[in-house]
Symmetry: C2
C-alpha cells in the first residue's frame, strides 16, 4: 500500500510538466530534451526519471491530456449523421497527430491497450475513443447509414486501424500529401457501408 505523495513531490512534478509543456508549445514535440526540462525546472536529471520513468512517460502524460481535450470536443460536437461526418469530427485529432512523428509513434505504442493499466491517462483515452466511435456507429446504424450486421465495437476498432494507416502513410510521403481526414474517408465508406452490387 503506497503512501500518499508529499507536497514537495507534487510541486516538482508540476514544475517539470509546466516547463515541458512550454518547451513543446514553442519548439514542438520533437525538440523536447530531458536535459532542457530539468535545467529550466531547476532539478536534477535523476528526479525526472524518478517521476516519469522515461522520456516517453512525460510525453504520455502531456499527450494523454491533449488527446483527452480533443475527445471532449468530439463529445460536445453534434453526433455524425453520415459517414463523412465521422471524418470531419476526426480531423482536428488527426491533424494534431500528423504534425509530428513523435506523437504518432508514442500514441501507436499505446493504441492497442484495451485491457489493464487503466491508471494511465493515455490508455483511458483510447478506451474512450473506441467507445465513442462505437456510439457514433450505433447511432448511424439506427439511421440506416451504416451496415447494421456488425458489432459497433468491432467496427470502431477498424476505424482505429484506418486512422493509424492514413497517418503512417502521411509520414512516408511528403509529396502529394492530402490531409489525413480526407485520406481516411474512402476506407470508412467501404468499411461502414454495405456493399452494393
Amino acid at each position: 500500500m503506497p503512501r500518499a505523495p508529499q507536497k514537495r513531490r507534487l510541486e516538482t512534478r508540476a514544475k517539470l510538466l509546466t516547463v515541458a509543456r512550454s518547451i513543446v508549445e514553442d519548439q514542438g514535440y520533437s525538440a523536447l530534451r530531458v536535459e532542457d526540462v530539468v535545467a529550466q525546472a531547476g532539478v536534477a536529471k535523476g528526479t525526472f526519471f524518478a517521476h516519469f520513468g522515461d522520456k516517453d512517460g512525460l510525453l504520455a502524460v502531456i499527450l494523454g491530456a491533449r488527446v483527452t481535450e480533443f475527445l471532449d470536443e468530439m463529445d460536445a460536437a453534434p453526433k455524425p449523421e453520415q459517414t463523412s461526418d465521422i471524418a470531419a469530427l476526426l480531423a482536428p485529432l488527426l491533424d494534431f497527430i500528423a504534425q509530428d512523428r513523435v506523437i504518432f509513434d508514442l500514441l501507436l505504442r499505446y493504441s492497442g491497450t484495451t485491457g489493464t493499466e487503466i491508471d494511465e491517462l493515455i490508455t483511458q483515452s483510447f478506451l474512450r475513443q473506441i467507445t465513442m466511435f462505437a456510439d457514433w456507429i450505433a447511432g448511424l446504424q439506427a439511421r440506416g447509414q451504416v451496415r447494421p450486421d456488425q458489432d459497433p465495437i468491432l467496427l470502431a476498432e477498424g476505424i482505429q486501424a484506418f486512422l493509424n494507416h492514413v497517418l503512417a502513410i502521411g509520414f512516408c510521403m511528403d509529396h502529394e500529401k492530402q490531409p489525413p481526414a480526407e485520406a481516411i474517408l474512402p476506407y470508412l465508406r467501404i468499411w461502414l457501408a454495405e456493399a452494393r452490387d
Copy 2:
C-alpha cells in the same frame, strides 16, 4: 553519375552484413548494437555509417531481404480460395514481425511508401505486397468470395492497415495474446465480404 564501388568497399559491406546477421540470429534484433557489429567486423565505427547511413539502414537491408523471402514463399504457395486462406498465407510473415517490436517499428516507417525511392529493397517489398494482395483479391472476386464492387488495390491497402493494427495490439497486450493471423480474420471477413442483412 556515381562511379562503381571499389572491391574493398563491397568486402567491407559484406563483412558488416555477415556479422550483423549472425548477431541477429542468435541474440535477436533488439540486441543488435552498432559497436558490436563494427568490433566483430574489425572496422571503425565511421565506416558503418558511411555504408548504411544509420542503424536503421542496416536493419532495412536485412529486413528487406527477409521480408522478400516471405513474399517469395507466398508467391509460390497456392492462391487463396477464401478469406481465411489469406490469413493463413499471412501467418508466417505476421509471426516474424510480431517476434520483435524493432521489426514492426522499422517496417511501419516504410509501410506507406507507395511512391518514389524505388531503390530501397524494403520499399519494393511493400509495393510487391500490395500488388500481391490485390491479385489475391481479384482472384477471389472472380470466384465470388469477395465483394466485387471495390478496387482490389484499395482493398489491398485496407488489409495492410489491419495487418499493422493487429500487430500493434499484439505488442500492447502480452496477456491473452492470440496469434496475429487469427486476430486479423474478423477484420478481413468484414472488409472483404459483402454485408448480408
